[in-house]
Symmetry: C2
Subunit: 702 residues, 2 copies
């Protein structure tokens, strides 16, 4: 049963700039229970970095692959000895060292032996419950620290509350501010052994059974337990009562082993939708680990009774949909959300309604929704393509007029240069930062709005947004062959250097002109024409991949995974290798896709070329290994690439299966769907849903 | 109709150390809308001080008479000109000057003309809505600033949210931390004129219709309105939806004048329960203003649908009771809560259940509940006497077993020396600060628990807590005639100076030995015996009032209103003048009561001798003017004093009336209840409830 799980290595991406974490969770789980190291900087935003060997404890929420750190709520640390007498680090935290030789992880399970504490720690999880098992081997009393004051990266506690309800039950909440400005979280912890306790206001012991403080902690002493201690820690974003109901519904009747088994089964069910055959175990590991990382977010954000914390700072209870949070849309609109329309169409409606709920609560769809907080990180209004794609694929029952109002609200707002964009038809560089990237991405999002308007036969909106979708043309500088900044008088901005980068201070977002000049996913023929036709266009793509990787300015670590000036470690280029498919030089695209698969995704901790960004990097791999990619993520057209595996089968929610077969090696000679040769480089969503066999006939180029 | 309102002067207590505010509210209202000055220190904790003439705006929540500052949520400032160009104070706030000559206030209404802005500002309120009316006289555009970042005293914003829903509607929330660690508040503002707007992140203009920021503000521009602008601002502690429902239920259909009239009527109904006759308008003003200040808190804390923010940091919806907050119990258990059992018995059950709800949510009854946060200010577990009194008077339908569990939880906790108190039978001075005050107050609270146990026929608890109630005896030092600190070996602490004070660093709480040595309200005969009998006891009381007022140490401003070492400006002595009633020297008590009434309560802004403390100072006056006082606030025995008025009539909720008549002038010669001469100095709650005539026959002492 667990065969697919054997090919998941949760440590992939935990080194380098991957920013993943190795802990225990189920697909889309609210609880993501994982070990935390003391942060040494940007590469510790997930709480963990493979290069580290110092443990602060296990916290219940983590961000997988993001560029900014937050979360890490409700830290639990098993330890021995006198808490107050123990050595603390410079932030007043106890710590212990460990080695990777006694660490292991698989989907839904994590285990670590702590030699200094003589503790075997094991973690597993259900959707809303983290389950811990600690076997204390030594002679000293077995202790657990619950630290609600603990915070890293951008996060900072505002107030914490702890209450010992009885000798087996601890409850509490933690309100913090940081990247998410207003983030309450509630928990209940149930233990299978009785404890005595000591509350602490930061490092100061406090008497009693309950405490409200900025940095509340509690040490639970289990004495010398006869067996391993099991702790179930259920979360809620609405209330302690919600956490209790979540625990009751999910894990109250289960032991550690059962929860672990259910978590594994949940992953088998989720990952098993994809079956790939390959002689190379490494490729399978890369594939299933990418799949695994693709299903970490968006996250279940509602209690079992449907209650959730809304973006208006209040608790709502809407039984009509299950609320999800953690939408990093600038990253994930590209491939992750299209992947979910194939792997988990049953969840898409909830995700769409979660974004529409965010709009109802704040007046705007989310840009980067972190626990119902708009972080306003990154550009574009990319909830729009995700929602429109879901609508066009028939995956949401949301009221289309509601959708139309929400997506237009994003496009008609006055922030982030959107007013200038409407006024000038592009964003003048001197009036707004990242003017070129914004103009290009707004144009794409506007194209998506136009498709929605068309589907609803709203001619005025269709005309307006179709016209706005062409704005990309205004910024193409034929003399240099780049998308380039213009001032408000329509003059090109000088000096112009396509390899210059500077974070949040140029015409491009986390990129340079090379990396953004191909961003017209909604009108590839139009873009090719702009570049002067197919031949110059291909030459330009060739140059992108083959020119020097040297950059000037202040190169941010986001810009990684370089092939020439192509930077796979960040999102703006993710569709670019597939642009070759619209030319006669498809084989060049295939070669680049293979190169990226082979060099940017390695089956080792520092194997990811850049931040996994809540699964977008991984989703690129999944599609690219399957042999097709949603170059335009709206509307259900996938561009053919080159399959990784001799056979890959996708089991669809409708009961159909699509088998992708690779015959021979080399370049794609022809592609056959259910015996019919495909004449265009496009595979449609409808074709996939019908299932059958997609056959790639390969041969060396002659 | 409004006759009683003519005798209320909301400015009384706004100067000196009174800490009251002059703004608009209805009895027990959630909204307390009042002008704010820039704080110059402790005497500005209500947001306003009569000595000031600089206005920052009008905020919607205030604390009346407390010693610590918080609240002041949702500031609204009418102004003219360019917000960003205007002069700011050192905290970045715009301001304007005013004079008391153009300021007026009456119950439910406040008005102020701002000459520099050429604005007539008027405020009124319903329970959950503040209603503003601004007449802009000048030529410049009429503007309102809504400042959610504004904070004073202990308060600090964590995150604020503002959203323009349409040209007539602004919504938002404000999460702050301070004296109340976790204080969310939500609002909707509806205007009768359309506005354009400019959002600001602190002082930085931001585009768009919505903003989440630490210090969000918005300037609303109404252009040149033809008439005065009316704004209705409804609050909620649970959600914007809650605020909208509150507005819809209370004021949606009403104009300013109607709300103002309803507020006045609410005060007429509340204050009109007391009718006093007196030739002296000043005494009537003192009386009705004291009544007015007594009904400011506890405050309605639930939405119209019953939802409230609980002490576990989560929203609850309990239709079984209406939640109240703002319990300053160390102050108000003495006279305010007993007063409410007479004036508002219909609210007592909700208040009891609110405290029990707090216990359910945190494991402990509140000590000082500020918007569902335990501030842990002051000593004792004085929710106990309030709840037990309500139970014994038959005013709560709470489950008595629930009550018993809750009150015992307070008494059995280990914080604040309560563990030492159980262990030693008193609190050893070297082991806990304020050991004498705590021992005395715990003993009284334990007596209240014993009465509850007795009522429920719980013999074990009755015995235990009756015994604990005698702990006061342990600390009486017969050699000095004071309640005095003992160390753990039972030795008196030396040196001992009964006039020494030092804040939070002696055996006494905001007091010295003189001010605490008479705190045995539950066993006056036992106390008299300790002092050596009636004669030495009276001599000691005489000395209290006649000795020098000089104190040593570091005298906190709390200790004010001195007559000898008696300090009426703070609570520990509030019952002391009534102790004479248990002796043959009743006239001495009467004289002191009159002296206190005449010198500690003046009908002028700095007329209160100390902090009004959410109405406790005022409740003392109300009882003392009526002629009786709840020396022991539990169980319904009131000690007779000396009436202020020739006739005072209390209309009871049961339809009965009690008329208190004073015949003649001088000392009380005899007291007659419905024709029967009272032989003890006690009037019972039952006697009051039966109504009729309480006649004091007075004559000069011969």
């Amino acid at each position: 049963m667990q065969q697919v799980l054997d090919y998941v290595d949760p440590f992939i991406g935990t080194g380098g700039h991957g920013h993943t974490f190795p802990g225990a969770l189920v697909p889309f789980g609210m609880v993501q229970l994982s070990p935390d190291n003391p942060s040494k900087g940007w590469d510790w935003t997930s709480g963990y970095h493979y290069s580290d060997n110092i443990l602060l404890g296990f916290s219940h929420t983590h961000l997988s692959g993001t560029g900014v750190g937050d979360m890490l709520d409700v830290l639990v640390m098993p330890f021995r000895g006198d808490y107050q007498a123990r050595a603390k680090d410079d932030k007043g935290r106890i710590f212990t060292t460990y080695g990777h030789d006694k660490e292991s992880a698989s989907p839904g399970y994590y285990s670590l032996y702590l030699p200094e504490e003589q503790v075997q720690a094991e973690l597993t999880a259900s959707t809303r419950t983290g389950v811990h098992r600690y076997r204390f081997d030594g002679e000293q009393d077995a202790k657990l620290l619950f630290d609600l004051g603990y915070a890293q990266n951008y996060d900072k506690p505002v107030v914490t509350f702890l209450r010992v309800e009885d000798k087996y039950t601890l409850t509490g909440y933690r309100l913090s501010t940081g990247w998410a400005k207003n983030q309450p979280i509630y928990f209940v912890a149930k233990f299978d052994a009785p404890f005595s306790h000591q509350l602490l206001n930061d490092l100061q012991a406090v008497k009693g059974d309950q405490l409200q403080a900025e940095k509340g902690k509690i040490v639970l002493n289990f004495g010398k337990p006869a067996k391993a201690i099991e702790a179930k820690v259920a979360l809620s974003y609405t209330s302690i009562a919600g956490a209790k109901a979540n625990l009751a519904a999910e894990t109250a009747q289960l032991g550690f082993e059962q929860v672990k088994q259910q978590a594994a089964q949940a992953w088998v069910n989720q990952l098993g939708k994809f079956q790939v055959e390959d002689a190379d175990k490494t490729n399978k590991t890369k594939f299933y680990t990418a799949l695994y990382h693709a299903f970490v977010a968006p996250q279940v954000f509602h209690d079992v009774d449907g209650a959730f914390f809304g973006a208006d700072g209040a608790v709502h209870k809407d039984k009509h949909y299950g609320r999800y949070s953690l939408f990093s849309l600038w990253d994930t609109f590209r491939a992750l959300h299209p992947l979910l329309t194939l792997s988990n169409p049953e969840k898409v409606d909830d995700m769409v309604k979660s974004m529409l709920g965010f709009y109802d609560e704040t007046g705007l769809l989310p840009t980067w929704d972190l626990m119902s907080n708009e972080t306003d990180v990154m550009i574009g209004y990319h909830a729009v393509p995700v929602i429109v794609d879901a609508y066009l694929k028939g995956l949401t029952s949301a009221n289309p007029e509601h959708i139309m109002a929400a997506i237009k609200a994003s496009a008609m707002q006055d922030r982030f240069g959107i007013d200038l964009y409407r006024q000038y038809g592009y964003i003048p560089s001197e009036l707004e930062v990242e003017a070129v990237s914004k103009t290009l991405e707004y144009a794409f999002d506007d194209w998506a709005i136009a498709q929605m308007a068309k589907a609803l036969d709203k001619q005025d909106d269709y005309q307006l947004f179709s016209q706005r979708a062409q704005s990309y043309r205004t910024l193409f500088d034929a003399s240099t062959g780049f998308m380039r900044g213009k001032d408000k008088h329509g003059e090109w901005v000088t000096p112009f250097n396509p390899t210059y980068v500077e974070h949040r201070n140029t015409d491009y977002t986390e990129a340079n002109a090379w990396q953004y000049s191909f961003f017209v996913p909604h009108d590839v023929p139009g873009m090719i024409e702009l570049f002067g036709g197919e031949s110059p266009f291909v030459a330009k793509l060739d140059e992108l991949f083959s020119t020097s990787s040297e950059m000037q300015g202040d190169v941010s670590p986001d810009i990684s995974g370089l092939i020439g000036q192509y930077a796979h470690g960040n999102e703006p280029v993710h569709h670019v290798a597939y642009l070759y498919a619209f030319t006669a030089d498809k084989h060049k695209g295939e070669a680049r896709i293979k190169e990226i698969r082979d060099t940017m995704y390695l089956a080792q901790p520092d194997g990811l070329a850049g931040n996994d960004d809540l699964g977008q990097m991984s989703a690129w791999y999944v599609f690219s290994a399957m042999g097709f990619y949603p170059l335009n993520p709206v509307g259900g057209e996938y561009v053919l690439g080159t399959p990784q595996f001799e056979q890959a089968t996708l089991s669809l929610a409708n009961g159909h299966q699509l088998s992708v077969k690779k015959e021979g090696e080399g370049s794609v000679q022809s592609v056959w769907l259910n015996g019919e040769k495909l004449v265009s480089p496009i595979l449609t969503h409808q074709q996939i849903l019908q299932g059958g066999e997609l056959r790639f006939v390969m041969a060396p180029r002659s």
